[in-house]
Symmetry: C2
């Protein structure tokens, strides 16, 4: 069996007309010879509606009851999509997470998928049915309904594709693929035909909100090709996310494939720190013990036996991190602390930058030429990130995008 | 364990404020020493919303998918009520039909309950939890979600009460109990303190839309006391529905307890029918084979070897029944057929009328005194029904209500 898994997000099934359009997409893939399994999210704003009902009752909902509530949303969309498919003469059957055999951990609101019993799904596919499966939800071994948390529906789709040994997992969304940067930031962006899992992971983590990194991690782990495509532009093939750096090389050693902007950063500094071995450890262990996740870290070269440590945290954690840092400063005898909540992180990503010298300097020159001050730098094998002031963030993205020639050619 | 089952209908949980009020009612019963299990319907208009979405897709929805769709409604209300109960400091846990162990036939849209596995429910009650169970839904042995059709949530509540050997099943609704007739028809009605199952069944079947006859049948079968009460008037005890005629006797041999009006009738006639044995059989077998349900039947005394047969059907079936009747007339050599879609049925109900002569004549006199023509009469042991013209229906109800002194005393 040549199996294709398709996933449609909330806006793709946001109205009856959209659901009809999705059914047409499914029908055309079936006509091309695939066995099809479809995963859907809750309709458009329906989750928001449920959440606002809940907020009328309590600020601290029980996580189990919240899962019970929210998982009803996908139950509506799977039933409606099945009806729309039947209307086109297809054999469709809707399945909740538990009916589809999706077994998760017993962690309400953020359960990970433990296993999928795919026997029933496979038998449905063999009989020519299109199973329409509720994304974002599963069941524990004790029969409790769980939800998978952020990125859940994409993850459901990839997990089912892996369990069924599908040929590909198509993620339909409201953008036409993965672009060289956020089209809201730069007027002329290129849509990438292909991107590697690693590149996608860096871009996903860095704020290009097309695919949740969790689903990409899973796809990477099992080498499951994913295609990001638009449910509005049916003819468009979107962007294929697949194994390692091959695609980049085929395009002529593309060094940088995309530029991302993460606005949710805040910079903290601790100054006048006695430069002793283990000092970084004391600072960051305490922060991590308190659940503060640190991103970029820079420690300056010591002067006169004192050093300075700068780091960024998620902006939501900034004030709490600052309080913690003040008490750490007292403990380790540091002079003072500072906070700048108005910084952003711009990153150039590309598997092709491995072993290619000069990428970083091209990036730094592009920023310098526009008068943008780089506050901090961090790098990985396939990424270079700079922390800059918030007001210069968009300018920085445009500068880097231009410098690496990412605008469409011609 | 002293167990009480409470059921709250759609209007009782129609808003966040109503859900909070319901939680208060539950809390006060718990405080009085009961173990509590609560059954809820979908919130107010939510089922209508789902149906209108569905109607945007298809006029002929697959019954399985319709069950999948509609059963999501109760999942929302159970989760919200559980949260409201938790907010009051109670231990509540929401359960879908399948989680509550409600196993049904594999008939989508109108499944009957086969069995209830009450072990889990009982263990929750023993641990002090309030299980909040989705009404109207269950699961087949094959793991398919079903709905129970009309009267489903009341039936869920009674079935759970029976399975758990509860002390009573309280049905909360938007009226304060069972009245001597529909308060919209007669200005001064009496609320009945008690009513027997049989009386309630006659009234329920006859259009007093308080309890669905299906739930009353089940309660009668297992002698489970039910109480109909208002979720708006907490202090009001409502009406107790319980075993046989005892209550009527205690109230001084009340002969008639209520008067019902069924507006959904149509009268059909077949005239000039050769009066041979088996003629009624030929007419009604054919109608029943075609799924037309016949209510009141009157066959006139034969004249010159010909007779006339009159009967009523539900108004929705009237035109179809007329077509059938025309072809039957040809087959059996009857002269002609006629239809009057504008008739209604008024009924006086009371267990006390058994062995009490004069009840029927009191009723007929009351109608005659107001100039109301009785077209057809039908009786059971505890009911007398008259078919009258639609325009005289309400007048007839008032006349009978007065004649039996059902208005409140004093």
């Amino acid at each position: 069996m040549k199996i294709l898994v398709q996933k449609f997000g909330g806006t793709s099934v946001g109205s009856i007309d959209r659901i009809k359009a999705v059914a047409e997409i499914c029908a055309s893939e079936l006509a091309s010879g695939y066995k099809l399994l479809v995963v859907v999210s809750a309709m458009g704003k329906s989750t928001d509606t449920l959440v606002s009902l809940m907020e009328g009752l309590t600020d601290t909902p029980n996580a189990r009851e919240q899962d019970m509530l929210l998982s009803s949303g996908e139950q509506v969309s799977i039933a409606l999509l099945s009806m729309a498919l039947s209307k086109l003469g297809l054999k469709a059957i809707s399945l909740t997470g538990w009916q589809a055999g999706i077994v998760t951990e017993a962690k309400h609101g953020r359960a990970r998928i433990c296993s999928i019993d795919e026997v029933y799904l496979r038998s449905l596919l063999e009989k020519g049915y299109v199973p329409v499966v509720a994304g974002f939800q599963g069941i524990t071994e004790d029969g409790e309904i769980t939800t998978l948390g952020r990125g859940g529906s994409d993850t459901t789709a990839v997990a089912l594709a892996v369990a069924l040994d599908a040929e590909r997992c198509d993620i339909y969304t409201d953008v036409d693929g993965v672009h060289s940067t956020d089209p809201r930031l730069v007027s002329k962006t290129s849509k990438l035909e292909t991107i590697s899992y690693d590149e996608m992971l860096e871009l996903a983590s860095l704020g290009a909100q097309v695919l949740h990194p969790r689903s990409v991690e899973l796809a990477k782990c099992y080498s499951m090709p994913m295609r990001v495509r638009s449910s509005w532009k049916r003819e468009d093939k979107g962007t294929l996310v697949c194994d390692n750096a091959k695609p980049s090389m085929l395009e002529g050693a593309r060094s940088v494939c995309g530029v991302a902007l993460d606005r949710k950063q805040a910079r903290l500094s601790i100054v006048g720190v006695p430069d002793k071995p283990g000092i970084a450890h004391s600072i960051f262990t305490e922060l991590s013990d308190q659940g503060v996740s640190v991103d970029v870290i820079v420690q300056c070269v010591s002067q006169d036996g004192f050093t300075e440590v700068d780091f960024t945290v998620g902006r939501a954690d900034a004030l709490r991190a600052q309080e913690l840092l003040k008490s750490i400063a007292v403990k380790i005898g540091a002079r003072e602390t500072a906070i700048d909540p108005c910084v952003v992180k711009v990153s150039a990503v590309g598997a092709g930058m491995i072993d290619q010298p000069g990428i970083a300097s091209t990036m730094f020159k592009a920023l310098g030429d526009r008068g943008i001050n780089i506050q901090m730098i961090s790098t990985s094998e396939i990424r270079i990130s700079c922390i800059v002031s918030e007001e210069q963030g968009e300018l920085a993205v445009g500068a880097i995008h231009d410098a690496f020639g990412l605008a469409p050619q011609g």
